[in-house]
């Protein structure tokens, strides 16, 4: 009797507790509503279209279902709730991990592509290969390189949502004050692309700017203040690799790491970069560059343009006239420069009640018109080749320039322990900048801590 009571109680409670369920819709007899949740992140507010596109995708799928519901299948509505986070990527990843562990994860997860490695390794994500294979026109329309960013151990676990490039922003007005002609400023991206302008040249330029009082001491080169994939760009720029493709293990390339550490040591030691750069609030860093007080923002992203325009009031003509964009210069003369892409991916919870329906919502949220709207509204790049043909998109000079930088791009490895390695590298650079460690000591720190903390997941070479 007691057992039956408990069972009834469970049966009564469980449907309400499910994140994705079906129920009769009071408004339309015979139809039913599918409840679905999705989480996505900016963190910049200008990327809010990540949320609105998912909602628009759900509406479009609904219409498809309604059209198909003339026959035996009942028409359905999708009650999609989308949460848009403006927190840091680290905090978002933490929230996701705990949500998955506690059974409260959403059906659709959008986030940095590195989450694929982290979540797929733990069996949290549904593989999407079968669903993609059934939709070749959709799958083949993506820029092919993007699929490598959402693959884990040979399987696809996400659909690229947008793309971006990491680059260096320079103040053209300050370059002119240093005696650069308009032509020299204009040709700089080509020199960077040809490997004729290196990180050492950039450091020389910064020292000149300080020496000639074009900028204040420690205001020549600023960079991001958090851990992230950007820091790997320097290892690549100095000829390092990040992953051993044969074994899948992460790599700490000692020579390239040391060169990277020496670069940041030089920048802080000679007054180009403040020793406490990483303690600067983002607001201060952005304002410094937008206000024309800083020569270069070394580790920018394509989205920064719109973030600065909306948050720091630099209009399009001023941006075009006063800001030059280059790929992150190479560390080795004659070699190509570097960019790191950090595409966002939409993934489906392996426990979603209807994986295929969740996938269809993602698919329609990436229709070319929505893909373009997000790109134009947030300074990101489209993921579909047909979106790239859009007239408005092609007219945007900034996005056109960003597309050119894509040829230098690299992706961070898909590995569950990548965030830890990022943090260890970041701490090493931070140690050098504040003068707590010499570059050699910082290299030993990175080597020792990476081995101690990552064990067999990392190889130091």
């Amino acid at each position: 009797m007691l057992a039956r009571g408990a069972l009834l109680l469970v049966l009564a409670v469980v449907p309400g507790a499910c994140s994705c369920d079906s129920s009769g819709s009071p408004g339309s007899p015979g139809s039913h509503t599918v409840r679905m949740t999705a989480w996505t992140i900016g963190p910049e507010p200008s990327s809010y279209t990540r949320k609105t596109n998912l909602l628009a995708g759900a509406r479009r799928v609904e219409r498809e279902l309604a059209a198909a519901g003339q026959g035996r299948r009942r028409p359905r509505t999708i009650d999609l709730t989308v949460d848009f986070a403006t927190t840091t990527n680290d905090a978002y990843a933490r929230k996701l991990v705990f949500a998955f562990a506690s059974g409260n994860a959403p059906d659709i997860v959008c986030g940095g592509h590195e989450l694929v490695g982290q979540l797929a390794a733990a069996g949290r994500l549904a593989p999407l290969d079968r669903l993609l294979a059934a939709r070749p026109a959709f799958a083949n329309d993506f820029f092919p390189v993007l699929w490598t960013a959402v693959r884990h151990r040979g399987q696809v676990y996400g659909v690229p949502q947008d793309n971006e490039v990491r680059l260096t922003y320079l103040r053209a007005d300050l370059l002119r004050r240093l005696g650069w002609s308009d032509a020299a400023v204009r040709d700089l991206p080509d020199r960077v692309a040809a490997g004729a302008f290196t990180l050492d040249d950039l450091a020389d330029l910064a020292e000149q700017a300080v020496a000639r009082r074009v900028v204040a001491r420690s205001s020549a080169i600023w960079h991001r203040t958090r851990t992230g994939t950007d820091w790997f760009a320097f290892l690549i720029a100095y000829g390092g690799r990040l992953q051993d493709m044969a074994t899948g293990r992460l790599v700490v390339p000692r020579r390239a790491t040391l060169d990277t550490l020496r670069l940041f040591d030089r920048l802080t030691d000679r007054g180009a970069t403040p020793p406490g750069m990483v303690s600067y609030p983002n607001r201060t860093v952005y304002a410094g560059f937008v206000d024309g007080k800083v020569l270069a923002f070394l580790t920018g992203g394509s989205w920064h343009k719109l973030e600065w325009q909306t948050g720091f009031h630099i209009d399009d003509p001023t941006f075009a006239a006063e800001v030059q964009t280059i790929a992150i210069p190479t560390g080795r003369r004659g070699q190509p420069p570097v960019s790191v892409s950090h595409p966002l991916a939409c993934m489906v919870n392996a426990r979603a009640a209807d994986v295929e329906l969740a996938f269809r919502v993602i698919q329609r949220s990436l229709d070319p018109d929505l893909d373009v709207a997000h790109a134009l509204g947030s300074s990101h790049l489209v993921v579909r080749q047909s979106s790239g043909e859009d007239a408005a998109y092609r007219r945007d000079p900034f996005l056109r320039r960003m597309m050119q930088l894509l040829r230098f791009t690299h992706f961070a490895p898909s590995h569950a322990k990548l965030p830890q390695l990022q943090r260890i590298l970041f701490e090493g650079i931070r140690g050098v900048e504040v003068g707590a460690l010499s570059p050699d000591e910082a290299l030993e720190f990175i080597d020792k801590v990476a081995r101690a903390r990552l064990g067999d997941d990392v190889v130091v070479e």
Binding site: D90, R94, V97, A101, Q118, A121, A122, G123, P274, P275, G276, V278, S279, Y280, P281, T284, A287, G288, A416, P419, Q420, R423, E427, R430, G431, E433, V434, A436, L437, F445, K448, V449, A452, R453
Partner: protein, 303 residues
Amino acid sequence: MARRPSLRPRIRPWHILLLPAALLIVFFYLLPAAVNLVLAFSDMDDSFAFHFAGAASLLRPLGDPMLGTILRNTAVFVVATLTVMNVGFALLLALLTTELPDRIGGAFRVLWLLPRATPSVVYVLLWFFLLDPTDYGLVNRVAGALGGQSYDLLTSHPWLVVVLLNGCVGASMGMVVFTAAIKSIPPQLLLAAKVDGAGALQRIRHVILPQIAWPVMFVTLYQALSLLTSYEYILLATDGGPFYQTEVLSLYIFHDAIADFEFGYGAALSLGLMAIGTALAVVYWRLSGLGSRSAPPRIEVDG
């Protein structure tokens, strides 16, 4: 015929009265400690899979190259914040405000309670407005207006910032306790000292401090244990930087267990923190004779 003693335990009223507190202790102290102990023997990560890794997992922190730095930082943080702010400054506030008329002294004490009442993120943001390393910061703006240079105190003097920032919150508790203790000193003792010609400092040294020794010792122990596990303000202000200079053990555990999802390793470190806290409490209890000072009253009143 004598009645046989009942085998059923007798439920007395005080059992029921103790029950809420007992449940609280079991669920929020003993149970987490037990879970932590079990986790410490595992290598649990973000997959949340429990693999028993034995003593090797428990001893893993001993091979951590950063552990020495972290323990040293923890000692610096606890000792500096405790002595300078949580006890020292709190005592100063209590002494000064009790010397003032009640309404004015009370108003000052309310002001010093504001940091504790302010949400931690807002509180730290206010400090950032003050200490922004560029000329956007208030301190640098004032320094610039006076012809001075810019300061980046978060980088050049991180401990100063961390101790002040934590201490301004922590001092309020000591202030309240010490104020109550000072106000409970029989006024005739202070008046007698005055009549005998004792100055303010002599009254503090020879009358007030001996009378409030027990609250001072209690606050010292309580705040020491509290600081050992406190990391929230450091996380928000410096995140342990620059380069581990303000990374204390509790923050290190947060970074390992929560940021890096090394739950097993974080649990092993937490076990160490619990051992340090317990040892500290026992040693302090013995050395200070705190137990004998809080002996039960000798008069028992039957209801």
